[in-house]
């Protein structure tokens, strides 16, 4: 984010989280640079306007939770539930993200340049998540729609009980979860991967290096013969 004359500076060692969020709930939007986040929780949550927010350091749980419209950048690592239930906008983290990054996110783009821990994209509902590093176990668990793109490796149980979301992984997948299968990569996939990498600002990876994983749709309607998979 370019720091312009209108960029508001906000020091969390001086002012409170409440004051920050109250400011960011102004429906007109604006630009804010937050220093000393010091791992505080619930930073920049519930934004609903074209804000540009830069958090200069590590952030705690639920940073950018339920974001709509805003562009939020974290120059550090993020705690659990980063950008959970995001509706739109863009959240970008230059460090790592803890568990459940992008949980249930409906829209927008989440970019984690480092690694994301367990359950990245759990119950994803339409957003796109791009991870420059690797993701932990049970990522995209019950993911309903949207995309999880992983440039590194994926942990155990990837895409368990997956619905319509699509997963792309460039590296190694430790194991696939129930009902998640590898699928053929077609030209639409290649275009989608290329576009997401460009949007995320990740170079050095090419679309053809990725594999696609999706739902076998065997668990979509209960059948007794599948009881072992539940």
């Amino acid at each position: 984010m370019a720091t312009t004359a209108e960029t508001h500076s906000f020091d969390l060692r001086v002012e409170s989280v409440r004051a920050l969020n109250a400011l960011l709930h102004d429906p007109h939007g604006g630009a804010v640079r937050v220093c000393h986040p010091d791992g505080a929780h619930a930073l920049a949550v519930g934004l609903n306007a074209p804000w540009e927010v830069e958090l200069d350091g590590h952030v705690g749980y639920y940073c950018a939770g339920m974001n709509a419209q805003a562009q939020i950048t974290v120059r550090g690592s993020a705690g659990v539930g980063l950008a959970e239930n995001m509706m739109s906008g863009r959240v970008e983290v230059f460090g790592n993200a803890s568990g459940a990054a992008g949980a249930t996110a409906h829209g927008g783009l989440l970019v984690v340049h480092g690694d994301a821990a367990a359950r990245a994209g759990i119950s994803l509902k339409g957003a796109a998540i791009v991870v420059g590093g690797s993701v932990g176990h049970m990522s995209a668990f019950m993911a309903q729609s949207g995309t999880l793109l992983v440039c590194g490796d994926a942990g155990e149980g990837l895409g368990d009980s997956l619905y319509e979301a699509v997963i792309y992984v460039r590296g190694r997948v430790a194991s696939l979860g129930a009902d998640c299968v590898e699928q053929e990569l077609d030209s639409d996939d290649l275009a989608r991967i290329t576009r997401l990498l460009a949007e995320a600002g990740i170079d050095g990876a090419s679309a053809a290096e990725f594999r696609r994983y999706g739902s076998a749709r065997e668990l979509y309607n209960f059948h007794v013969d599948n009881a072992g998979s539940y």
Binding site: A22, V45, G60, A100, M142, Q144, L219
Partner: protein, 437 residues
């Protein structure tokens, strides 16, 4: 000829269930609540006033019923005229008409309704003056705009019908509208997770609650709903996490679709749960400060009064209001029989073919329920419950239903005395209570 004798262990329902299981190879999923008898409010009686207690004059002396929920942290707590709320029931499980009727009925008597799995519909927001928005593990339809236009938030940890269990909306109830609200294709079984995706345990929940407060600018209260299993500890932890109110749902509580084995065998009766929850609040010094809303088999004004006397601030109702809307009504008997049931036994709420048009997404069936007429019936039912509770409270000499207390109650059975911690009628005996301790 020897007399035919049925087994008490293998009774007809048990035999039929074994036969069904052998035939179908899948456990039974159904709606309604527990059907077995468990210790309940029927096992308690009020003593009423006499020489040592003065009653209030019926119809003349005021007996208040209002309750304020969530004043601990919220700038705009929920203020209700009656201590009887409508429980969370999802659009998807219920028709749009049913949700609208519940909203109309509740608003007419000054109480709240609650959304459910699947999000908030325009019908219920438009017709509910006070609407509680549930945050469930599935987060189906979870939308911050709806969060901001809610009057309270209810974080669902569990439900009495299935503490520890997730949800299930079978594919046949997933119409295009329900599917779109939940971001899933039509016709697919929607499994709802049993754990929240972004928190586990009370330490995380405390931060989750902080996030919700920040998103809503500390305006509205946050409830935490739990199924009754270990209420002393669960209530303690919910309050420690920052809940403004605790919703405690006993094992008899209704469900739209759960495994029968879950409905009948997991969790404890609400009668046993309330005293533990009240003790937890009292030990924290927060009884009446953090409100306790209880549910699970509340049917009558007597049940309401007994729940309040045990220390609850309000009750919540699911099955009762569906019956008020017309569920299990004799007028549909022919259709119930065709579905293999009877008026009075119908519980196939999971199947979506409800003749009364309540637990369905079929437009033809749903049209049978007129939201205006349904709303009137719900309002009537809630008024009757309120008047009944007031009648009892006045007879006990109370100027507000919240002044009812355990001292007004006795138990009819040893079990109920032990669970509710009130003496067995005609004695001073509360089993399990060490005298003088």
């Amino acid at each position: 000829m020897t007399a035919l004798r049925e087994s008490a262990t293998f009774d007809r329902a048990t035999i039929a269930e074994i036969q069904r299981a052998a035939r179908e190879g899948i456990y039974e999923i159904r709606g309604f609540g527990a059907k077995r008898r468990v210790p309940h409010f029927d096992d308690l009686l009020f003593l009423g006033a006499s020489m040592s207690r003065y009653p209030l004059e019926g119809y003349r002396e005021r007996c208040g019923t209002g309750v304020t929920i969530g004043a601990r942290h919220a700038r705009e707590p929920v203020a209700l005229d009656i201590p009887i709320t409508i429980a969370g029931m999802s659009f998807g499980a219920l028709s749009g008409q049913a949700k609208e009727a519940l909203g109309r009925g509740a608003s007419a008597v000054g109480t709240s309704t609650t959304t459910g799995d699947g999000g908030m519909t325009e019908e219920e927001r438009a017709h509910s003056d006070t609407l509680v928005y549930q945050l469930l593990p599935s987060r189906y339809g979870m939308n911050p705009d709806d969060l901001r236009r809610a009057d309270a938030i209810e974080i669902v940890v569990g439900q009495g019908a299935k503490p520890g269990g997730g949800g299930m909306l079978l594919g046949q109830k997933i119409t295009d509208r329900v599917a779109a609200m939940r971001d899933l294709p039509p016709g697919v079984d929607q499994r709802s997770a049993c754990r929240h995706p972004d928190w586990t345990g009370p330490d995380d929940l405390e931060i989750k609650i902080l996030e919700l407060r920040e998103i809503t600018d500390w305006r509205i209260p946050i409830y935490v709903k739990i199924g009754a299993s270990r209420p002393y500890y669960d209530v303690t932890l919910a309050v420690k996490s920052g809940a403004d109110a605790v919703v405690l749902d006993g094992m008899q509580g209704g469900t739209a679709a759960s495994q029968s084995v879950f409905i009948e065998h997991v969790g404890i009766p609400i009668l046993a749960a309330i005293p533990q929850a009240v003790r937890a609040l009292a030990d924290l010094g927060l009884h009446r400060e953090v409100q306790l809303i209880v549910s699970g088999g509340i049917r009558t004004g007597a049940d309401v009064a007994k729940a309040l006397a045990l220390g609850a601030d309000a009750v919540s109702i699911g099955i009762g209001v569906l019956i008020a809307l017309g569920d299990n009504a004799p007028e549909w008997e022919d259709e119930y029989v065709r579905l293999g049931s009877h008026a009075g036994s119908y519980d196939a709420w999971q199947a979506g073919r409800d003749p009364a048009g309540i637990t369905t997404q079929d437009p033809e069936l749903a049209r049978r329920l007129d939201p205006l007429e349904g709303g009137r019936r719900v309002a009537n039912y809630l008024r009757v419950l309120t008047m009944e509770a007031q009648t009892i409270a006045r007879a006990c000499g109370k100027s507000h239903v919240h002044n009812l207390e355990p001292e007004d109650l006795v138990a009819l059975t040893v079990e109920a005395a032990a669970m509710a911690r009130v003496p067995l009628a005609g004695t001073t005996w509360i089993p399990g209570l060490v005298p003088g301790a």
